[in-house]
């Protein structure tokens, strides 16, 4: 029995959502995944407003963030998270298609905790997601005030 941290995934592409959830499910990490489909929704969730006004206020254990998002893009989400007193402690993993150096530089400047380029090969993709999920949701000790629940290994 291990504690499993809640994962907040920000991803606009339904296929990517499905493939990521499938990969996480393979390792029983999918139970506590919240999916938001654009930057604005992700911020609503994080700041407990709009549709998420009534949720319990704990932070997710990790934020998986795509960069190219409708409405508010990933870098803006990252900037707001890292400049908020309460949210800045959330580990943020950028999970993106882009290998662009300037995105990488911008993300690290804003204080991202990890930057992962989604591999085209599905096995590599599953492996990457699995390792991310296990590391951030299981192994990593998230900051106090994050949601953890008992999960299966």
């Amino acid at each position: 029995m291990t504690e499993l941290g809640r994962i907040l995934m920000v991803e606009d592409d339904p296929n990517d959502v499905e493939l990521t959830l499938t990969a996480l499910a393979e390792y029983n990490l999918a139970n506590e995944v919240v999916v938001t489909r654009d930057g604005a929704e992700a911020l609503d969730y994080l700041f407990c407003r709009g549709n998420f006004a009534t949720r319990t206020s704990e932070n997710p254990a990790v934020l998986l963030l795509d960069l190219k998002l409708p409405k508010v893009d990933g870098l803006q989400v990252l900037r707001q998270v890292k400049s908020d007193e309460k949210l800045r402690v959330i580990p943020v993993v950028v999970l993106t298609s882009s290998r662009e150096e300037r995105d990488m530089v911008a993300s690290y400047r804003l204080g991202v905790n990890a930057y992962v380029v989604k591999p085209v090969d599905f096995h590599e993709f599953v492996n990457a997601i699995k390792e991310l999920g296990i590391f951030w949701a299981v192994i990593n000790q998230p900051p106090p005030g994050s949601v953890r629940k008992k999960g299966l290994t």
């Binding site: 592409d13 296929n15 990517d16 493939l19 499938t22 960069l67 190219k68 993106t96 298609s97 882009s98 290998r99 662009e100 150096e101 989604k118 591999p119 085209v120 090969d121 599905f122 096995h123 993709f125």
Partner: protein, 505 residues
């Protein structure tokens, strides 16, 4: 000896003096002789006018000094020969006033003669000076005509009074046409500011400079750099304006051309920048949007394979494998293409780079490719070059891994890296292998994007490696080329200009 060479001037001077005073003595002696002869012929009282004549002649021809001598001699002679007692120099008191009058009269004649001589001399001198000045002026005027600069003089009423040959050449009006004409009307001058302002400046400073537009006799417009100088008379009243013009039409045209070229260049630069931005956005979009569907194709195919593998026949399973391989290959292509485009866009950061160290690193990076193979490496000493370290390393990695790849069919691969004797101004590096080589007929295709000279089954690759090498070397201002023989190995060369060398301090 020196007395012989020198004497002319002084001896002539002396001769002249002797002649002058000699004239005094001779003319007085002659007058006395004539008077004595006349006296013997019983002609009375002619000695006085004769002696005065001798004085006058002496003064006239020999000047004041000899004149006074003549007066003195006449006095003595007169006293000796013609006043009582005769043949003595004693003068009786009765005769003294006559003698004094005689002397005074002689002196008056002498001084008149002298003054006349002086006036004559001054007149002569003034005439000579005048002639000299006329000659000089004439010479100056013709000198002004010699210059190609345009020079003309106009009065304060702007009527032209002088017009040199340069002006004739520039404007096409002859001096005869121009003199007497109103300068600004004749040349249709366009002033950059009101005439009053220019004249104010001219009167205050005595000069004015500016660019003016004028017209030639045939109507052709001409731009001139114009300089005006004011001439004043003795009362400081403005008298005339000397205007010098230089034709700057050609210079102005060139300036305009340069300005136009700069403008075009700026426009083109901004167009290029816009294109570059677009390309960047395009590459960014490819990087994001093209890879996602590819991932999905691969992902879902994989899931399909996993869920249905048991029910599928061999052929269907093979199709799935092919789909996966195709997707993976496309992924690699996109990645390579993006890397290639990044090299074109990235800033180069140049430093002094040790090629020795760079080759070592590149060999280390390509080691996995040589696993299980026999490769004989020959690496010569390489110089330092000035360039972008990471780009040059990528070029070396690509070339080395190329050599490794195309020697795969050899039982023992031989790869040599060294630097060749190039032209003085560049460092030439080569990578030689004993691999499958290539047909020189297709050498121009080697460095093209997606160009491949071998079957995809024989040697894997996207056909972007050498294109990347070329782009990197071109960005350094160098060249790439290759030698090869089918089944006889290949040598790839690249050069980096030495002018970019910076000696290590």
């Amino acid at each position: 000896m020196t007395g012989m060479a020198k004497p002319d001037a002084s001896s002539q001077g002396w001769t002249a003096v002797v002649l002058k005073y000699g004239l005094a003595v001779v003319s007085v002696a002659l007058a006395l002789a004539l008077a004595l002869v006349a006296q013997s012929q019983a002609l009375q009282k002619v000695e006085f006018p004769l002696l005065m004549m001798a004085v006058a002649v002496t003064v006239w021809y020999a000047g004041l000094g000899p004149g006074i001598v003549a007066v003195a001699l006449s006095g003595v002679g007169f006293n000796y020969f013609f006043t009582q007692p005769l043949y003595t120099l004693y003068i009786e008191p009765v005769d003294r006033p006559v003698f004094v009058v005689f002397l005074l009269f002689g002196l008056v004649i002498a001084s008149f003669g002298a003054r006349r001589r002086r006036i004559e001399r001054e007149l002569l001198q003034a005439r000579e000076e005048l002639q000299a000045e006329v000659a000089e002026r004439t010479q100056q005027a013709s000198l002004l005509d010699l210059t190609h600069d345009t020079i003309f003089v106009r009065g304060m009423d702007d009527v032209i009074t002088y017009w040199n040959r340069g002006a004739e050449e520039l404007y096409g009006w002859t001096a005869r046409d121009a003199i007497g004409q109103h300068a600004h009307q004749l040349l249709q001058t366009v002033f950059p500011k009101p005439m009053e302002a220019i004249h104010g400046e001219l009167l205050a400073a005595g000069r004015w400079e500016g660019e003016l537009d004028k017209r030639k006799a045939d109507g052709t417009p001409v731009a001139v750099a114009s300089r005006w100088s004011l001439r004043r008379d003795e009362q400081q009243q403005p008298l005339a304006i000397l205007e010098t013009n230089n034709d700057v039409t050609e210079r102005k045209r060139r300036e305009e051309d340069i300005r136009q070229l700069n403008e075009d260049l700026e426009k083109r630069t901004s167009e290029l920048q816009a294109t570059n931005k677009e390309l960047e956005a395009f590459a960014y979009s490819i990087s994001h949007d093209l890879r996602a569907p590819l991932r999905h194709v691969a992902g879902y195919t994989e899931l399909l394979h996993k869920n249905t593998a048991a029910q599928l026949d061999d052929r269907s399973r093979r199709y799935m494998t092919l789909i996966l391989e195709a997707a993976k290959r496309m992924g690699t292509l996109i990645d390579d293409l993006l890397a290639f485009s990044r090299i074109g866009r990235a800033e180069t950061r140049k430093t002094t780079v040790s090629l020795d160290a760079l080759v070592k690193e590149a060999l280390h990076e390509t080691r996995p490719e040589t696993e299980g193979r026999q490769v004989a490496w020959t690496v010569g000493a390489l110089p330092d070059v000035y360039g972008d370290r990471s780009m040059l390393k990528l070029a070396l990695v690509n070339l080395i891994s190329n050599a490794v790849k195309f020697t795969r069919t050899r039982p023992k691969a031989e790869i040599e890296i060294g630097h060749a004797d190039g032209k003085d101004e560049e460092t030439v590096v080569f990578i030689r292998d004993n691999g499958v080589g290539f047909d020189m007929r297709y050498a121009d295709k080697l460095f093209g994007v997606f160009q491949r000279l071998h079957q995809a089954e024989a040697f894997e690759g996207t056909g972007i490696g050498l294109a990347t090498v070329q782009r990197i070397i071109h960005r350094h201002g160098g060249r790439v080329w290759a030698d090869g023989i089918v089944e006889g190995g290949a040598t790839f060369y690249f050069s980096v200009p030495k002018s970019w060398w910076e000696p290590r301090s």
